[in-house]
C-alpha cells in the first residue's frame, strides 16, 4: 500500500470517549493532524461491539462489526484512542467474521490499516516530537488489550519522553489488569474491586500526581476508585498530555468551566 502525501484517517472515537471524555477525541484529532494527516469522524459510528462480543452475543457483535467496517474501509487508516477498541478491529474482527469469507477479507483489509492512536503516531506516522509540556511526575498504566494484543508498551513511553518537563515513574506490577474488563466489573464487583484496589495502591505508591493510560475503560475504573478513596491523583488519557490539552479538569474532577467546552482549534 502506498501512503498518500496526506493520508485520510478515520477516527474511531470509541463510545466511552464520546460519552465521558470528548477532550480525548479532540486531542486525538490534533495529534493526528499535527502529524500531517486529514482526520475525519464518521458520524454514524456507535460502538465496536465489545460488550456483545465479550458476552457471547456473536450475532450482534458481527452486525456491529460489519457496520463499522463499511463505515471505515474507505480511509487510508483508522485510529482509535483505545487499545481495546483498536484490538477489536485489528485482532478480533477477522476472527469474528471468519465464517463469511467476503466479510473476513474486508475485516482483514481494515485490520491491516487500523491502529491504536499512540502506536499509530509512533510506529506509522513516525512521530518523535510533540509540542507539549507537562510539569510534574506521571505514572502510566498499560491497558491489557493494548499491551498483549497489540504489543503497545514502548510507544507511549517514547512519546511521553518528548513532553517537556514530564517525568515518568513506573508502576509496580505494571502488567496487571486494573479489573475493568467491561461487564466483568459489574458482574463480579468484589473481584474487580480487589484488582482495582491493588492497582490504585500501586498508583499511590509511585507518588505521581497524574496517572495516564490509553484506554477510557481503565481510566474510568481507576479514577473512580481513586476518587472513592479520596486520593489526590489526577487521571487523564495519554493523548490529552501528548496534545498539550491537559489543562482542564481531570477525569472525574469538577468541571464548572467545562460545561460547554470550547475546544481549541487544532494547530491554533
Amino acid at each position: 500500500m502506498t501512503t498518500p502525501a496526506r493520508p485520510r484517517v478515520g477516527l474511531l472515537v470509541t463510545c466511552l470517549v464520546d460519552l465521558f471524555r470528548p477532550e480525548v477525541g479532540f486531542a486525538s484529532v490534533k495529534l493526528i493532524e499535527d502529524a500531517g494527516c486529514i482526520v475525519e469522524v464518521p458520524r454514524d459510528q456507535t460502538c465496536c461491539g465489545q460488550p456483545a462480543y465479550n458476552s457471547g452475543d456473536k450475532a450482534t457483535a458481527q452486525e456491529l462489526a460489519r457496520n463499522l467496517i463499511a463505515l471505515f474501509e474507505g480511509y487510508d487508516y483508522v485510529a482509535a484512542p483505545s487499545g481495546s477498541c483498536a484490538g477489536m478491529l485489528k485482532v478480533h474482527f477477522p476472527a469474528l467474521l471468519a465464517d463469511d469469507p467476503l466479510w473476513e477479507n474486508r475485516a482483514r483489509r481494515l485490520a491491516a490499516r487500523s491502529f491504536e492512536l499512540v502506536s499509530f503516531l509512533h510506529d506509522v506516522l513516525r512521530v518523535t516530537k510533540v509540542a507539549a509540556a507537562h510539569a510534574g511526575t506521571v505514572t502510566y498504566h498499560d491497558g491489557c488489550s493494548g499491551l498483549r494484543e497489540l504489543g503497545i508498551k514502548g510507544q507511549p513511553r517514547a512519546l511521553l519522553g518528548a513532553v517537556e518537563g514530564l517525568a515518568l515513574k513506573e508502576l509496580s506490577a505494571a502488567e496487571s489488569c486494573c479489573g475493568f474488563g467491561g461487564l466483568f466489573c459489574v458482574k463480579y464487583p468484589e473481584i474487580s474491586n480487589r484488582m482495582v484496589g491493588d492497582k490504585v495502591a500501586a498508583v499511590i505508591d509511585t507518588g505521581a500526581a497524574t496517572l495516564l493510560a490509553g484506554d477510557m475503560g481503565c481510566l474510568l475504573n481507576i479514577a473512580g476508585k481513586l476518587s472513592r478513596l479520596g486520593a489526590a491523583v489526577h487521571c487523564r488519557h495519554v493523548a490529552e498530555v501528548l496534545a498539550g490539552m491537559a489543562n482542564g479538569p481531570a477525569i472525574g474532577q469538577s468541571a464548572p468551566a467545562a460545561k460547554a467546552p470550547r475546544p481549541a482549534r487544532p494547530g491554533s
Partner: protein, 480 residues
C-alpha cells in the same frame, strides 16, 4: 467432589474476606511470577521452545488414535497393561479391581489431578481401601478434608500456621510440646509420618506428565520424590492419565520438559523427572511387579474438532493460575471444582457442562496474561469467549445481562438514535455529577458504584461537540 461452581460469586466473596487465605495468596505473585520471569529471561530459546512444544502436542492430538495404539503396544510388550476408560466411573472401577485382586488395604498416591477429577479417594475409601496422599501439599489437604486449590501446589491457600494446626489435629501421637513454627520442622514431621506408609502400601498410584508412544513410558515430574517412592515400593504401579498426555518420542518429551518446570516453578528442571516403562525386569532387585496405565477419556475426545480442542495441549504447569489476577485474588477453592484458574475456566465447562460451570469463563477481564505465559500457547481467553457464546446461545446467561445487552444493542444498531441517547445520557450523568464531577451512586450500576465512583462527563458527547466545530465545513464528518 461435589461441584460448587454455580456458587462462584458467593465463593469468591468469601475468599476475598478470608484473611489467612489472602495472606497465603500473597506469596504467589512474590514467588512464582518472579521466578518464572527470571527463568524465562535466562533461556533465550524459550519462545521458540513454546512454539515447538505446542506443535508437538498439536501433531499428537491430530493423530491421537494412532499414538494411543502404539503406546498400548509398547506397554504390553514390556509386560504392562493398558486400561481404556471412557468415564470416571470406569476408571474408578478399573483401579478398584486391581486393588481388590492384590488384596490392597492401603494405596499410596502421588499427586494426580485426574484422580481428583474422578473422585478416586472417596471411592476407594468407601470400598475399604485407604488412599494415602504422599505429596506434602496433598497430605495436608487430605488431613483437612479439602480439595486441592492449585494444580501443582494443592495447599497454596494455607499459611504455615494453618499447616501446623492441621498436623496437631491430624498426626496422632505428635507430642504437644513439639514446636511446629518452622517449615523445616513441618516437612520433617510429614516425612516421618509418611515414610512407613510408602513401605506398607500394596499399590501406588501416580498421574503422568507425559505418556511416550515410542517407548510406552509414563513420565512423572516432582520435586519431592514422592511419586518415585509411590511407584517403586508397592507391588503394583498404576498410572492414571488423560488421553491427551501422549507425546510421540522421548525427544518430544524433552522439548516440552524445557518449558514445563520453568513455567511452573521457575526451575530449569524439577528435581525428579522419571520415565517409568513397564514392571520391574526379570533381574531387577526393586521396582513394581505390575505396571498399569489407566487411560481416561471422560469428555476429552468430545473436545476434538471443536473450538476447545487446543485445551488438550495443556500440560498442567499452573502458570496461567499464577499469573491470573482473578485466581491470585480468590484462590482455587472459589472455582468450586478440580480445575481452577484460566485453564479450569476452559476445562471445567467441558467436563461439567456450561450450565453448571458458566461463571468460570465469565469471571475474566480477558486481560490475556494467561495466554501470554502459557508454555503451550493455548488461547485461553478466546476459548472462554467461546463458552460465553455457547452460554448465550443456550439462553443461560443471566437475565439482567441479556436484557441490558439487548437494550444497548438496540441503540448501537441505530446511529441516529444512538447519538441522541448518548447525548441524553451525557447530560444526565453530568447533572448527577453536579459540581463534584463524579457520581457516588447510580441506578442500575450498583456493581460499579458500590466500590468506586463514576466519573461524570462534562455534559456533551464528542459527536455533539465535533458537529459544532465542523459546522462551517459541512463536508467534514460525512461519509468518506
Amino acid at each position: 467432589m461435589q461441584p460448587t461452581t454455580k456458587d462462584f460469586p458467593e465463593n469468591a466473596r468469601r475468599a476475598l474476606g478470608d484473611v489467612p487465605l489472602q495472606a497465603a495468596l500473597g506469596n504467589i505473585a512474590r514467588g512464582w511470577q518472579e521466578k518464572r520471569t527470571q527463568a524465562v529471561a535466562a533461556l533465550p530459546e524459550f519462545e521458540a521452545l513454546r512454539t515447538a512444544a505446542a506443535a508437538i502436542k498439536d501433531h499428537t492430538i491430530a493423530h491421537l488414535d494412532e499414538y494411543l495404539e502404539r503406546f498400548e503396544s509398547r506397554v504390553t510388550e514390556q509386560g504392562g497393561t493398558v486400561h481404556w476408560c471412557r468415564s470416571a466411573e470406569e476408571a474408578r472401577h478399573t483401579i478398584l479391581a486391581i486393588c481388590h485382586r492384590l488384596n490392597a488395604r492401603t494405596v499410596t498416591k502421588g499427586k494426580s489431578m485426574v484422580a481428583e477429577e474422578i473422585g478416586l479417594n472417596d471411592f476407594l475409601g468407601g470400598h475399604g481401601i485407604a488412599p494415602v496422599e504422599t505429596d506434602l501439599g496433598e497430605h495436608i489437604i487430605q488431613l483437612r478434608k479439602e480439595a486441592p486449590s492449585h494444580i501443582i501446589a494443592p495447599a497454596v491457600h494455607l499459611t504455615q500456621a494453618q499447616v501446623a494446626e492441621t498436623f496437631r489435629a491430624g498426626h496422632h501421637g505428635l507430642p504437644t510440646n513439639r514446636r511446629l513454627d518452622d517449615a523445616r520442622v513441618l516437612v520433617d514431621e510429614a516425612r516421618n509420618v509418611l515414610r512407613p506408609r510408602y513401605f506398607a502400601a500394596e499399590v501406588g498410584i501416580t498421574g503422568a506428565n507425559f505418556l511416550v508412544a515410542e517407548t510406552g513410558s509414563a513420565v512423572i515430574v516432582t520435586n519431592e520424590g514422592n511419586a518415585d517412592l509411590t511407584q517403586l515400593l508397592p507391588k503394583a504401579h498404576i498410572v492414571l492419565a488423560g488421553i491427551e498426555k501422549l507425546v510421540p518420542t522421548l525427544e518430544d518429551a524433552a522439548t516440552i520438559l524445557r518449558v514445563l518446570a520453568r513455567s511452573a516453578t521457575g526451575q530449569e528442571m524439577a528435581a525428579y523427572t522419571t520415565f517409568a516403562t513397564g514392571p520391574r525386569r526379570a533381574r531387577d532387585v526393586d521396582g513394581p511387579e505390575e505396571f498399569h496405565v489407566v487411560l481416561l477419556d471422560n469428555g476429552r475426545s468430545a473436545l476434538l474438532g471443536t473450538e476447545f480442542q487446543d485445551i488438550l495441549r495443556c500440560i498442567r504447569c499452573g502458570a496461567c493460575l499464577n499469573h491470573c489476577p482473578v485466581y491470585t485474588g480468590i484462590g482455587g477453592h472459589a472455582y468450586g471444582w478440580v480445575y481452577t484458574g484460566p485453564m479450569g475456566a476452559v476445562l471445567t465447562p467441558a467436563l461439567l457442562g456450561v450450565a453448571e460451570a458458566g461463571h468460570l469463563p465469565n469471571a475474566s477481564t480477558f486481560c490475556g496474561r494467561c495466554e501470554s505465559v502459557c508454555p503451550m500457547r493455548i488461547p485461553l481467553p478466546k476459548m472462554m469467549r467461546h463458552w460465553r457464546e455457547r452460554e448465550f446461545a443456550a439462553h443461560l446467561a443471566p437475565h439482567a445481562i441479556r436484557r441490558g445487552l439487548s437494550w444497548w444493542a438496540f441503540f448501537a444498531r441505530r446511529p441516529a438514535l444512538y447519538r441522541a441517547a448518548a447525548g441524553a445520557l451525557a447530560r444526565w450523568l453530568a447533572l448527577m455529577g453536579g459540581r463534584l464531577g463524579y457520581v457516588r451512586t447510580l441506578p442500575l450500576a450498583g456493581g460499579w458504584t458500590a466500590v468506586r465512583d463514576m466519573p461524570a462527563p462534562s455534559g456533551r458527547t464528542f459527536q455533539q461537540l465535533w458537529a459544532m466545530r465542523a459546522q462551517p465545513a459541512a463536508k467534514k464528518g460525512s461519509r468518506p
